[in-house]
Amino acid sequence: MTAAGEAPRIGVYVCDCGFNILGAIDVPEVVRYAGGLEGVVLAKEYKYMCSDPGQDLIKKDIREQRLNRVVVASCTPTLHERTFRRVVSEAGLNPFLFNMVNVREGVAWVTEDKARATEKAKALIRAGVRRVALQEPLEARSEPVNPNVLVIGGGIAGMHAALSLANANSGAKVHLVEREPSIGGNMARFDKTFPTLDCASCILTPKMTEVKIHPNIHLHSYAEVVSVEGYVGNFDVTIEHKPRYVNEDLCIGCLKCVEACVYRDARFPNAFDLGLAKRKPIYIPFPQAVPTKVLIDPMDCLYLKLGKCKKTCVDACEKGAIDFAQAAVRAQVKVGTIIVATGFKPFDARRKPQYGYGTLPNVFTALEMERFLSPTGPTEGVPSLKDGSLPRKVGIIHCVGSRDRNTNEYCSKVCCMYSLKLAHLIRERTGAEVYDFYIDMRTPGKGYEEFHEKLLAEGLKVIRGRVAEVTTSALTREEKGHLIIRVEDTLAGFVRRIPVDMVVLSVGLEPQSDTQQLRRMLNLSCGREGFLQELHPKLAPVSTATDGIYIAGACQGPKDIPETVAQAGSAAAEALALVHRGTVEVQPYTAVVDEAVCSGCQVCVGMCPYDAITYDADKGVVHVLEVKCKGCGVCAAACPSSAIDQKHFRNAFVLAEVAGVI
């Protein structure tokens, strides 16, 4: 019986989804079967249920056939549940008297045998019909959206998103969190960018400064997001600021402390330079760092490590900014939306030991080469060999950790282009002869193929073939003392041995190593390669399955700077749209207590992550505060006497559904 007391009059609609479902399931047979189920008044097949005519069909039937429940068997609810709920409500039915059965992703796409797929679809529809017969009308609640936005990651993606949001002057405050001491990300490491060869610093540093001084941006540098609670419109975020041991508000970046440090020479590897250059225990990551504040590495600083030091830095600081007692500080911020722009991790070239990275001298990764080529890098822009001389021949090996069944199968997309850029710059700075070893030269993009042609005209030597190994084992006198690149030249059809002085490994892009923790914290999903998964690969490329959380840049998959910036802008626009709308609809799936059954054991009180359950000592029962309840269902599952039900997921509904399947 329905809430209004009438017997269920259910309409079942089975979608062909073109050939997606029709090709794998005997749809007419399923429709015939569904028509005979208890409570079903009509069952229909249609080519695309989500199309306008499909929607109209449902509306017409609701009105004319007086349907009071609707089941649509089509794709996953994440795609179209919202669509069909709107359709039934437009026809005057409560949207929660609708149920969606997934026969596309759940059946058609994963079941090879048509007869079995048909049976499976029947079982799922049977379950859906039984469930919908019990469902109750509910009212969706609406809640205000906090206008502030959290941006995680201060690379080019995060900075661009933050600036787009901040420049909208929507009243929103942007919290930009970067875990490194400076914003800028990997782009700050580059000397030039392809295909225009414009100077990366010249286009990046103004943006970095703008981020720092923008009144609408709160920059949390050297900080990490440690927890995110809540839901779209109302997230509670905890940010942990790591201790710099230097008071950020007082430090003016004069670097007198660095000069005064008891260590006369820089002797600790600088992470920004990938360890190629050295720094002191007190340092600034790179000259253009933003914020321009020094920090102390507690692992290297004598005082922090041993408690004994002359502390010359303290004497040198006129502002008294150095503070050895600093500890990690946590800050709470409230935001309505989140943009994730955490970037990528370069492939670890040690995983291809045959290329000698880490074991042979003068074998470098592409990112290291970017630093060598940078005027502020360890060799001030001119790559040189370990002995200080200039290389006369350099080999660049493509696809290291990309398009490789042993490591990553996917193409990292940017490596062909950055390899060409590196080839140009190496030749320009050292005059070396450069060899590029590629599998396929992939240069789609505006001006990219033209750049490739330009390089060929410059005299770049290109050899098609995946390099077998880099070795120092010389077979001839000419090879002695060189790195020998052994490769099958697949155009010429024989194996070559090419002696070079320096090897650059064009490493692919991988997900950040802590993507899984981030994913769990934000309730996102990852694709097969481990990059964050977008809601839809074509139509919702920056949205995620979690409302209010957007992704931009290389955390979603390998991409170059233009594409990253475009995504960041898009993510900012999506977030702003929510801010502008001002409210979000919240599903009314709150918990309800059956006071007659509740024994007052209070197991649920401790379990509730939102403090939404209180104990009424007079009655000896618990109450759920509907405003606070987020509908997570923990209490319903925990209740030992089944006294708690979750609306729309009542035990009876779920059991009816299960009984329908089996």
């Binding site: 070795t471 084992s473 077979l475």
Partner: protein, 292 residues
């Protein structure tokens, strides 16, 4: 101590007999018993596999089935060819049901069931994993001081199954070398091809591969190459004089089995370890029979 079944294969009963002698001596001294699989036959390696792969698999499977019938203990297969043939047969039969049917049919005619439950082990694995570095270290009475060793793995115990060690950066032989008190030298090709069957088929290619290895070991100033495989040992040892003449390089270097190296460190004499059967006998800095 754990006991094992032993699959010698043709090599260890023929050209590789120094391997068998030293292996048995070392294992005996460590208190490990090796029992030959009764009525074992050819492992089905190289030649057979290239003519009739299915029959090669059946031959290997018969050995595995015999081991199951014997008592199902782990099989120690010292020859790299046998080790790979047996490991591969076991893996392939488990993966492909139609191959399994052929094997069941062939073995069934002889009344021999096959279940695939015995493990195929390499003696290196047994020494370092089952016996363990600590016990091995205790057994060393004569550390091979100042003895520089080029560890050479060959292909088959590392590829495609990396059960013994990493295919690209293997280190177990280095570990064993250090346990024996000797010094492992680093050189680029320790898991590269020794020339394999090409030294007989396409000699120009096969000998070239052997030359590359010998040259690399010599350049690294090794006193000996220590290997795990009878074919590698043969290829690297017997062509040395010929390669010296054709390349005008000094490529002379002793090529010994890892079991011989360990046996020396355990204080055994050259006869017991069949070191006197090698073409070139390694020269040790320390005298036999005592601590250096």
């Amino acid at each position: 101590m754990k006991d094992y079944l032993y699959f010698p294969g043709c090599s260890l009963k023929g050209a590789g007999s120094p391997y068998e002698k030293s292996l048995l001596a070392v294992f005996r001294a460590l208190g490990i018993s090796l029992t030959e699989i009764p009525d074992w036959n050819c492992c089905g390696a190289t030649a057979y596999l290239s003519v009739d792969a299915d029959m090669g698999t059946v031959l290997a499977a018969r050995n595995l089935a015999l081991a199951e019938r014997a008592d199902g203990r782990d099989i120690v297969a010292p020859c790299s060819g046998c080790f790979l043939a047996l490991s591969k047969a076991k893996a392939m039969i488990a993966e492909y049901p139609d191959l399994r049917a052929k094997v069941d049919d062939a073995l069934g005619r002889g009344g021999l069931p096959y279940e695939g439950r015995v493990a195929v082990r390499h003696p290196l694995e047994v020494l370092l994993k089952d016996v363990g570095p600590d016990r091995l270290r205790k057994s060393v009475v004569r550390p091979l001081k100042d003895f520089r060793v080029a560890p050479y793995y060959g292909c088959a115990i590392l590829r495609p199954y990396e059960t013994v060690d990493s295919a690209h950066v293997p280190t177990v032989l280095e570990e064993l070398t250090r346990i024996a008190g000797a010094t492992p030298v680093d050189y680029p090709h320790k898991a590269r091809c020794c020339g394999g069957m090409l030294t007989t088929g396409v000699q120009s290619v096969g000998l070239r591969l052997a030359e590359i290895l010998l040259d690399a070991a010599k350049s690294a100033e090794a006193d000996a190459i220590v290997t795990t495989c009878p074919l590698c040992q043969y290829n690297l040892e017997v062509y040395q004089d010929r390669l010296c003449r054709s390349t005008r390089k000094d490529l002379r270097i002793p090529v010994m089995y890892f079991t011989q190296m360990l046996g020396l460190a355990m204080g055994m004499d050259e006869r017991t370890l069949a070191i006197d059967q090698l073409f070139r006998v390694p020269v040790l800095a320390c005298p036999a029979g005592g601590r250096a």
